[in-house]
């Protein structure tokens, strides 16, 4: 299935943008203004839909003219490109968009032709599928780990490096006790939030056996 690689789904959708000559500000421009201000970090709507690895929204104004002897031609509409890489299946994802991030969906696709609103999520799903393009070739470097698993792995990687550094020079008994505390901290830590700027520091490094700097180093 060209849209899928392992557990990851690659959605490519082109939604024609409304063209209203009487508008003070065109839909395309309004959309750009909205997207420029939309949060890209933990407050992003895509952070709410936890299964999103990466996603982008692009206002595509036109095709490109590469120069003579190629012919010059133009699109009659502008298109909103939505490229997303997420865990799970398409229908579930689109339903989650409709149910969990309705304000942002309205604000974005409200500028597009044929957008049916969100009173009936099933209609939104159908609408998005009618904008969908089949991916001809999809490459995913890691395609078998969910977002949750990825964030957890990154947290553990960072934690372990800190643990190793701080346990330099510990005796075996000290080491075992310190590791037990570290691992407990890992197991008790809640699922990391997506789109944070950095890996959160595990609590075990803030106090207790693992909180000291490397032994003996000034």
């Amino acid at each position: 299935m060209a849209n899928r690689s392992g557990n990851v789904y690659g959605l490519t959708a082109l939604s024609p943008i409304l063209d209203d000559p009487s508008a003070e500000v065109s839909h395309a421009v309004a959309l750009r203004i909205y997207l420029a201000k939309l949060a890209r970090d933990e407050k992003s709507p895509f952070a709410k839909i936890y299964s999103t690895h990466m996603a982008r929204l692009v206002v595509m104004d036109d095709v490109v003219f590469v120069g003579y002897p190629a012919h010059e031609e133009h699109l009659k509409s502008k298109y909103l490109v939505f490229e997303a890489n997420f865990d799970g299946d398409l229908d579930t994802y689109l339903e989650r968009m409709a149910k969990e991030t309705p304000d942002e969906v309205e604000a974005v696709w409200g500028h597009c032709v044929g957008y049916p609103g969100l009173t009936d999520p099933a209609r939104f799903v159908t609408y998005m599928k009618s904008c969908q393009l089949t991916t001809t070739f999809y490459f995913a470097d890691v395609n078998d780990k969910t977002v949750k698993e990825t964030l957890r792995a990154l947290e553990i990687q960072s934690g372990l490096a800190t643990f190793i550094e701080r346990s330099n020079g510990m005796s075996p008994a000290e080491l075992q006790a310190a590791f037990a505390e570290f691992w407990k901290s890992v197991e008790e830590s809640p699922p990391p939030l997506p789109a944070a700027k950095a890996v959160a520091v595990l609590p075990c490094f803030l106090s207790g056996k693992n909180s000291a700097r490397v032994r003996g180093i000034p």
Partner: protein, 198 residues
């Protein structure tokens, strides 16, 4: 710079191709999907999280009715979306140096493609065909695909260690811990802010 979020860059490119060439291109992608060794170099370069090529036949731009006019085009279009790590220049330098035959096999069918080598005209062509991202989200902005893969290896190793070493005596534990270090020692690079630059 809206194309960039943390360590990832969202590149979009559109290139025209004569409709009769589209079939050849589709054939190439079909082969690429089947013949894994052809993907080997792409995997070994290891700085793309996700990438996709989308062929849009000229009559298949989504048409939703209403007052939208149907497109009347001569060319089919090849859309390319990449989520990669590193700077724009670094990315294209690497592809030009190492994957030029693969790039030529794909984009060689598009109009006025100058070839992936030498790199300066290639960059100029890409700059013309590239269009900027308005909004870019990533769930792990401070991690490259190398970081992600390393993290998964580390987690697997340390989980196994935690389970196996639970009941060990301290000396046995210390020995097993050394083995853990040896298993993860190449995968502990810190994550964080990316370098600034183009």
């Amino acid at each position: 710079m809206t194309n960039i979020n943390g360590k990832t860059y969202a590149m979009n490119a559109i290139t025209p191709l004569k409709p009769w060439k589209t079939w050849i291109l589709r054939g190439f992608f079909f082969l690429l999907g089947l013949i894994k060794p052809m993907q080997k170099n792409l995997v070994n370069l290891s700085f793309i999280h996700f990438a996709r090529w989308v062929v849009i036949p000229r009559r298949r731009f989504p048409y939703l009715g209403g007052r939208q006019k149907r497109e009347e085009l001569r060319y089919d279009y090849l859309l390319f979306f990449s989520n990669f790590n590193g700077t724009w220049n670094q990315y294209i330098d690497a592809f030009s140096a190492v994957l030029s035959s693969g790039l030529n096999a794909i984009w060689g069918w598009t109009e006025k493609y100058p070839g992936a080598v030498p790199v300066t005209p290639f960059k100029r062509h890409i700059a013309r065909c590239q269009f900027d991202t308005d909004y870019y989200y990533t769930a792990y902005p401070y991690a490259t695909t190398n970081d992600v893969k390393a993290a998964h290896r580390v987690e697997t190793a340390v989980r196994a260690f935690a389970a196996e070493s639970k009941a060990m005596q301290p000396r046995e534990f210390a020995l097993a811990y050394q083995k853990l270090l040896l298993a993860v020692q190449s995968d502990l690079g810190e994550t964080g802010e990316p370098p600034v630059g183009t």
